[in-house]
Symmetry: C2
Amino acid sequence: MLPGVRERIYAFISEKGLRKTSQRDAIIEAAFNTSEHYTAEELLTLARKIEPTVSRATVYRTLPLLVECGVLKEMDFGRDHKFYDPNYNEHPTHNHLICVDCNKIVEFEDQHMELLENCITKRLGFSPASKSVRIEARCDELKKLGACTHRKAEQ
Amino acid sequence: MLPGVRERIYAFISEKGLRKTSQRDAIIEAAFNTSEHYTAEELLTLARKIEPTVSRATVYRTLPLLVECGVLKEMDFGRDHKFYDPNYNEHPTHNHLICVDCNKIVEFEDQHMELLENCITKRLGFSPASKSVRIEARCDELKKLGACTHRKAEQ
DNA sequence: TTAAATGCAAATTATTTGCAGAAGC
DNA sequence: GCTTCTGCAAATAATTTGCATTTAA
């Protein structure tokens, strides 16, 4: 867990008049003990290793809090479930490349993309307040080798 | 409907050993009589104006065919339903800006974006075979006027 | 004490699917 | 006639929610 994240969350919790519970603590620990993307279901599994009483409903109720707090980024790539990204703080220019072959999600940053997004957005009469870019692509490894090392479990 | 689209679809249908039915015809007519994005449910409504016997199941079974045929683009913006874009043929560089305030979806094309996408994708070891970019943004009108003219029904 | 949080199970909602009858080729 | 299509209704599956109970402050 990055320094400051825990403090930020607990400040947010107390500001909002919310309460500190063992289940929330476990979910927060689990959510920021990794730098991988995860789904709600995966986070439930991780959190239950810390506090077995955590329920699915509580995970689903806590995730929006962490997103609202600004420490977690919700990502919807059009799969059947959403992903959550705990690296949002380190890399706030959260662009993603998603491989349609192996389901790999690659984070990247690019200054030019950043500039270009801003230009296009303004030109169209919008403000780039909450922009995010995703690129869908195909894995070179798969094309060359017929398989690719990116593929892990179902993502 | 653009010239050639109908021919392309029926060629696809016969190649695959599929059949021409009044329901499919109605769905195809409805799907390409507009240049707007639509959901499956909206397409059902449109198709039923042409052929009232069209069922929801048939719409859901026909949409993937049209996508596979290459005449329709499926877009998932992380809303609760998918959108379908019949303009795909005219503007194959289907980039989208989605307003998080008014839900407006704006299509745009940009050569620089195109180039940049290709560069980034290759740099990361992928091929830009099926890329698409979406920018989430906030509506300037809303910010200035407290309302915006983009907002139509719920999208 | 009292408002917030929890777990459970039921509800929601877009989409998918099994099946028996209808229809294209 | 044989296979594909269709509508219907039931199934799926991620997420949400109502409610009675528990618990933090």
